[in-house]
Amino acid sequence: MSTALHLAVALDGTGWHPASWRLPSARPAEVFSASYWADLVRLAEAGTLDFVTIEDALGLQTDRLDGPDERTDHVRGRLDAVLIAARVAPLTRHIGLVPTATVTHTEPFHIAKALATLDHVSRGRAGWRVQVSGRAHEAGHFGRRTLPVLDPAAPDREIVADLFAEARDHVEVVRRLWDSWEDDAEIRDAATGRFIDRDKLHHISFDGRYFSVKGPSITPRPPQGQPPVTALAHAEIPYAFAARSADVAYVTPTDAAQARKIVSQLPIPHVFADLVVFLEESEPAARDAHERLDTLDGTAYTSDAAIFTGTPAQLADLLQEWRAAGLTGFRLRPARLPDDLVGITGGLVPELRRRGAFRTAYEAATLRGLLGLSRPANRYAVAEEARVA
């Protein structure tokens, strides 16, 4: 099924439109509770989606570039995304769980074991949305470096390159730590009293510009070997980062031609387009829903990603057109939760299935499996075979 496509949803608060929390179906007071997230992820799983991503950051949501705002009329505050994913894992069975975790300021050692553990807890359904933080106010929460306020329209190239070079090293360390235990390292050999074969544990001895990490991880290799690494990318430097470090890139084209051009820069297994979606049974109803929210908020909503407003069938048309341009899947950002997630699982998914473009049941037990990625060999085990040969 080469025309089949992959579908993920990006969960964030009550949806991506800042006024979404005011809708009758929204549950704004519950976004800090486990049941809220469990309900959403189970809904996504009922629609056989590949995975959910969960947004996160090391700072408060803000509409300003130069720091936190003082707004009281938007959702503010969030829970740690890795922990939300872990909390939901025992309650789900098939769907991939892809939390956001920031690489700037954080320890690769901690991130590696957290995601490896998410993979153990979910039996092979963990992924990672890598987030680079270029925000000055987030740096202030750690106090170990200062960053100038970056203008996203024209950011200082040198600083951005530096942040992404650090990100590249971070992902490299995490990936090495995941491989630092060979799969069969645990032997429980009663005869010699050895729990592990220590020759199958490896120091990673990473020595870089930003940090050095010795290893091995304290956590055995995750069930998937390497949980999928994903990253959002809008420009040259992040494209280069994603091309080198990620298995899935999220990109933000506005049409099929642009999508084709971006895909050519990303020689990795998956390139998904991000789309904000308003789904209703008729196009006018969708437009109306969008407009009413903009009115409620007092401003027209803008996004880095294209905003789709229409019916599930129209969205299916668009996704198939972009699929033909080389994208392998889509990460849909529901403008309203749960409404547009219901629109995806109850409208878009059946429509795509009718067209033979989306799975009717989960065909694999792991996220790598759903994404058609084989379980990778361990880099250290490979090196050993080569030595013997």
């Binding site: 740690d80 872990a86 956590t219």
Partner: protein
């Protein structure tokens, strides 16, 4: 009314207490093992589940130590998943204050508190060594003598973050469009020798206000830190005399901080072996001790005192004539909770004398001198021993460490707990939904 006992379940650790060779022993990484033990603890109405932490695999003689269980999960991630399969059980995680930053740890604990509806606890530990530091950005940046000043400042910073959102900060009134009562929720600034941080915390106040704080250090500085900041201490002193001494020592420190005595619980680690009769239990305990201290393990433990390679010695033979090496670096690294012997040459002389007098081999001697089980006996004997220690102020309860994963608590839950309940010293139902309820702690203002 007698004192009420507090009980916690420690997931079996990466040391030789854990008998991984037992045919019943399960995985130390698969989630089912954690879920099984946690569900047993909850069925038995325990206060909390406890996870230890070590951020570098232990080495001895320059090689990764392979005789004990090796490998463990990320603390926060497993506890968040456990919140999904339990409803009342407290979830306590050991998190180091040296190789972390307050903003991140505070948001993880506050998130865990939300996701568990008020069951999070933080065991603050201070391992500072450069060996562990090799896994982290800043390396071995902290001097041993600064470990508790960093911990104190870390905890102070974290408390500011936990307190930065008022409990009623979120209005979420759809009609008026007011989500936040005040646009500056989460504002903080904290400056001291260790931290210079400011901004906005991004997790609203959790159901418990702040997570319950545990402490597990034993030094003078550690005890003072506990008296100043902790809700409970995880101690090593589980016998009557040592327990009472420790108990008095930490409780007497409380008035200086304006705290009542019952605001700090003392919870020693405890192991146990149950049997149909006391004699049966003692027999089993002796078998378990031999499983815990194999010949190979005996040599490794002896090396930790001698600080030399003793691999050429026969564990069933006599102790080495040669003296411990006190000159160089220690051969064992990454053992967070092992206090190295203070005067190795004197201890070695004692051990040799004892081995000679009692005709003990190396293995026999190690079995005799290292941790014997805290409670051995028929269920009634063990229930009585636990109750006596608590009523005599040697403890407020215990953190039980089963030696088999994950079923090692089942028998205790089925036999000892009902006896404690009959005595009226242990709850038969949870009094409330949060860990603070279980421990009788106030929600902080």
């Amino acid at each position: 009314m007698p004192k009420q006992i507090h009980l916690a379940a420690h997931f079996p650790g990466v040391n030789n207490t854990t008998v991984w060779s037992d045919p019943r022993a399960g995985s130390h990484i698969e989630f089912d093992s954690f879920g099984t033990l946690a569900r047993t603890a909850e069925r038995a109405k325990f206060d909390f589940f406890f996870l230890a932490e070590g951020l570098r695999l232990r080495e001895q003689g320059g090689q990764i130590y392979d005789l004990d269980v090796v490998g463990r999960p990320d603390t926060f991630t497993v506890l968040a998943a456990l919140a999904a399969v339990t409803t009342h059980l407290g979830l306590a995680g050991t998190i180091n204050s040296t190789f972390n930053e307050p903003y991140e740890v505070a948001r993880q604990f506050a998130s865990l508190d939300h996701l568990s509806a008020g069951r999070a606890a933080w065991n603050v530990v201070t391992s500072w060594d450069a060996f562990t530091g090799e896994n982290f950005r800043r390396g071995g940046f902290l001097a041993e003598s600064d470990r508790y000043s960093r911990a104190t400042q870390f905890l102070a910073a974290a408390r500011e973050l936990f307190d930065s959102w008022p409990a009623d900060a979120i209005v979420a009134d759809k009609d008026t469009g007011v989500f936040l009562r005040n646009g500056s929720a989460g504002s903080f600034r904290h400056t001291d020798d260790q931290f210079d941080i400011a901004g906005r915390f991004n997790v609203p106040r959790g159901p418990q206000g702040r997570p319950v704080i545990l402490q597990a250090g034993d030094s003078e500085a550690g005890r003072e830190f506990a008296a100043a900041t902790a809700d409970a201490i995880f101690s090593r002193h589980g016998t009557l005399v040592e327990g009472q001494k420790f108990y008095r020592d930490v409780k007497r420190r409380l008035p200086a901080y304006g705290r009542p005595e019952d605001s700090l619980k003392v919870l020693p680690a405890a192991t146990f072996v149950l049997g149909d009769t006391d004699a049966d239990a003692h027999e089993k305990a002796a078998v378990v001790r031999r499983q815990q201290v194999s010949g190979a393990t005996a040599i490794k433990l002896l090396e930790q005192l001698w600080n030399r390679d003793l691999s050429g010695y026969d564990p069933d033979g006599p102790l080495p004539e040669i003296d411990p090496d006190v000159s160089g670096d220690h051969i064992a690294r990454g053992r967070a909770s092992v206090r190295m012997h203070r005067d190795p040459i004197a201890v070695a002389a004692e051990w040799r004398a004892r081995a000679e007098a009692e005709k003990l081999s190396i293995r026999d001697l190690i079995i005799e001198t290292t941790n014997r089980q805290t409670f051995i006996g028929a269920p009634d004997t063990v229930a009585t021993a636990i109750d006596d220690l608590v009523q005599q102020d040697a403890a407020d309860g215990f953190i039980l460490v089963p030696h088999v994963t994950p079923g090692g608590l089942d028998e205790f839950a089925d036999t000892v707990v009902p006896l404690l309940q009959e005595r009226g010293v242990f709850r038969t139902e949870y009094a409330g939904p949060t860990l603070r309820h279980h421990l009788g702690l106030e929600v902080p203002a």
